[in-house]
Symmetry: C2
Subunit: 450 residues, 2 copies
């Protein structure tokens, strides 16, 4: 098997266009937020080099579980009855249970280098919190996780896992911060929200050495995630069967980007053609039904504006089990790629997704996380469509995480109590109507590049 | 990385002594049980070849997740402050979450070859049931799992996982079998027991094609598990650092045997010296405080007698979180090795075990199952003892499974509500007094061979 890549892949110099610039929030001064982030991470978003070296301290940690397996899903192919070849890259074999550890470790390293001794983080379903808790444990840093209270109560296993890793886990809203106390005064029984949890984590950075660790959807996060796609490229080359199609689930964009960008970059530099297909839930269809516009990256409206495909920062998706795909928008980089028609998008309802996820589990011996099951389903659809055209495609599926903490979701599918949420045109229009006023920028992004 | 071994390793021809023969139960006719087991499996216990080929159909399945990783635990070494080199072989990366899938797949294959279309199985904590459910899913067979009712209620995640794999999961005692109905009549609120669950699974084999799949501690199970030890041998040879000490947790014996036997065999054939150290809980100390005697393999007393280190088939260990290590005895092969002083044993209380497990999790990014945490702790003790003697040892740890479904146990350690169960001499003496009458056999096993 190949070794772990020693550089991350930076797609920006291969794009042939610039990303629309971020703009300051019209509602708040976000300088404080910027100051929390290590300059190296901010510079990585502007770097023009194609390959950025992975620091040895990060590489050493990657080697604890990387390279991750790339396997052919022979039994799943057989169950589908397809003539296509399906491969999957499995990122769920590390402690955090998902790809998120790839960037959490890199971020923890850079934060430590600027003197951080403790990271604060907001988490919803708990995967980002777990990844940062694991990374802090590895680097001997403390970690405070503000976990949305409803998740804190519904997912005791996730909470214990973070505590086992040495993190303090605080149900949010809490009494520890002004924003938390305010939320509790307004609604003492509230289950909380990711937006409040993030605000509390940001507020709880008064002591020296305590930094807020933003999130998993930044452009530098996508950079760090390319370790998965680079490995997959080498692994599929070794099998002499590079993919015709790469399929990944799409939430904030780091999983899909990490897998797809290296393949896309090879094509942009004149190499092998590849179709990169992102899969989102019908209940949160930011690419397929959203708008390419400047929007806030969180519900509070206090963050800088980024140009993204968005359903509006006030969009609240209907109840759905893939917590990691509930984000109202997707990364500005992924958004720009979609706008320039360099990647594709598909949206599927969750019962179809869980049916494919279960079939995959029974065939391949891995229960995919509900998020990852979207990619499995999208790949199955691609394979059957190729069969109808008599094309024998090589298809790569990103299985970003395991579903061991998602048994309640699988149970609801098995019990047939799971429903497919539907979104009317009005639901989406109502939320899009609350987009911030669009700035009059020079249109850097109007002309698709091919 | 090395490929998957294409043969299992059979230690029997290298032993230089015979295992004491099994004897029929003085209380029951066990012919029916034998008839359920495929002849190939029974022959594997008598085979004199050193290497038995893995059938291609099994090998293909192994390749879905094997070879499993062998990694150096550098951060854990650092945390311990040891000069020893610690490596771990991780078997928790497959769907069943433990090593048990190695033999479940082989058994499912052989059962299918004799015409089985459905396997029934009894499970306590759920790991064996999950492994057989996964194996049945892979071979397109049905699976009925009788799960001890108290576990069924306490571990909904485990139950859903088996159902997700297509198995029917029945809380035991059930109304489906005579033995279940009897148990419910006697005690309608009973939480059940593994013994009753096994008896129900055995009874529920009336229809054609339905077979009872015995368990994970048979000598043929240990044979199948050697796939892990053989891989580890090759992986450590590739690192030019073969182990001085191999440490594994000991329940029924298949995890410890699978890892240790290939190394032990090399030594028995005149190769490199190795110490194989099995680690058991203080609460169930069959090797360190039990007796080498003929005993029943289950609590019902209806199975054939095997010569084993045992605490007595009526022994009920105090409450403890490593469900997989609660068995009253250990495999007859492991027992004979201990009797002949070819392996060592140590017993530790669970709080010390969880402390090491947590430290390992924080350092290495894998939360070990409580069972596996015993091996981690045993290896830490070995390393620190070697340091005191100024010996820089290479130590291999068997991490047999992950702890994702054991968060409640870790929570009780973090909450400091966990206690160390103690066993008095009387507790053990009382149970040993109920051993069956010992047969007068020719003493095949009295003289240690070195």
């Amino acid at each position: 098997m190949s070794d772990v890549p020693t550089s991350w892949y930076n797609v920006l110099p291969d794009l042939g266009f610039e990303l629309p610039p971020d703009l300051p929030s019209p509602r708040a001064d976000t300088t404080g937020l910027k100051l929390q982030i290590p300059p190296t991470l901010l510079r990585q978003e502007l770097d023009r080099r194609r390959l950025l070296p992975v620091p040895p301290e990060v590489l050493q940690r990657y080697r604890q579980w990387r390279p991750t397996p790339l396997r052919r899903a022979l039994a799943f192919e057989h169950a589908l009855g397809t003539n296509c070849r399906l491969y999957y890259k499995y990122e769920g074999g590390n402690l955090s249970g998902s790809h998120k550890l790839n960037t959490a470790i890199a971020q923890a390293f850079y934060y430590q280098r600027v003197g951080a001794t403790c990271l604060t983080v907001g988490t919803g379903a708990g995967q980002w919190g777990t990844a940062v808790a694991a990374a802090c444990a590895m680097f001997g840093m403390r970690c405070r996780v503000y976990m949305v209270r409803s998740s804190y109560e519904a997912k005791p296993g996730r909470r214990t896992l973070m505590q086992a890793l040495g993190a303090s886990v605080i149900p949010s809203p809490s009494q520890r911060t002004e924003v938390g106390r305010l939320a509790l005064r307004e609604s003492p029984q509230t289950g909380g929200s990711l937006s409040i949890a993030l605000a509390e984590a940001l507020a709880d950075t008064g002591e020296p050495g305590v930094h807020f660790c933003t999130g998993s959807g930044e452009t530098y996060s996508l950079l760090h995630q390319t370790v998965a796609g680079l490995e997959a490229q080498e692994q599929m080359a070794a099998l002499a069967d590079p993919p015709d199609v790469v399929v990944g689930s799409l939430g904030g964009g780091s999983n899909f980007g990490g897998l797809a960008l290296p393949f896309l970059g090879t094509m942009l530099r004149g190499g092998r053609e590849v179709r990169c297909v992102s899969v989102e839930p019908s209940a949160c269809p930011k690419l397929t039904r959203g708008r390419y516009a400047y929007d806030f990256t969180d519900a509070s409206g206090l963050t800088p504006l980024q140009k993204m495909y968005t359903l509006g920062h006030t969009f609240s998706p209907p109840a759905m089990h893939a917590g990691g795909l509930r984000y109202h928008a997707t990364a500005k980089l992924i958004s720009a790629l979609y706008h320039h028609k360099l990647i594709e998008a598909a949206a599927y309802p969750q019962r179809a997704v869980f049916a494919s996820g279960l079939s995959f589990a029974r065939c391949e011996g891995i229960v995919p996380a509900p998020e990852s099951a979207h990619a499995v389903h999208g790949a199955a659809v691609e394979a059957l469509a190729a069969d109808r055209r008599n094309q024998r495609r090589s298809i790569l599926i990103g299985v970003s995480g395991h579903g061991m903490f998602d048994m309640a979701a699988y149970q609801s599918y098995l019990d047939t109590t799971m429903t497919d949420a539907t979104l009317s045109e009005q639901d989406i229009a109502r939320s899009l109507a609350r987009l911030p006023e669009q700035p009059a920028t020079r249109s850097l992004d109007s002309a698709p590049s091919r």
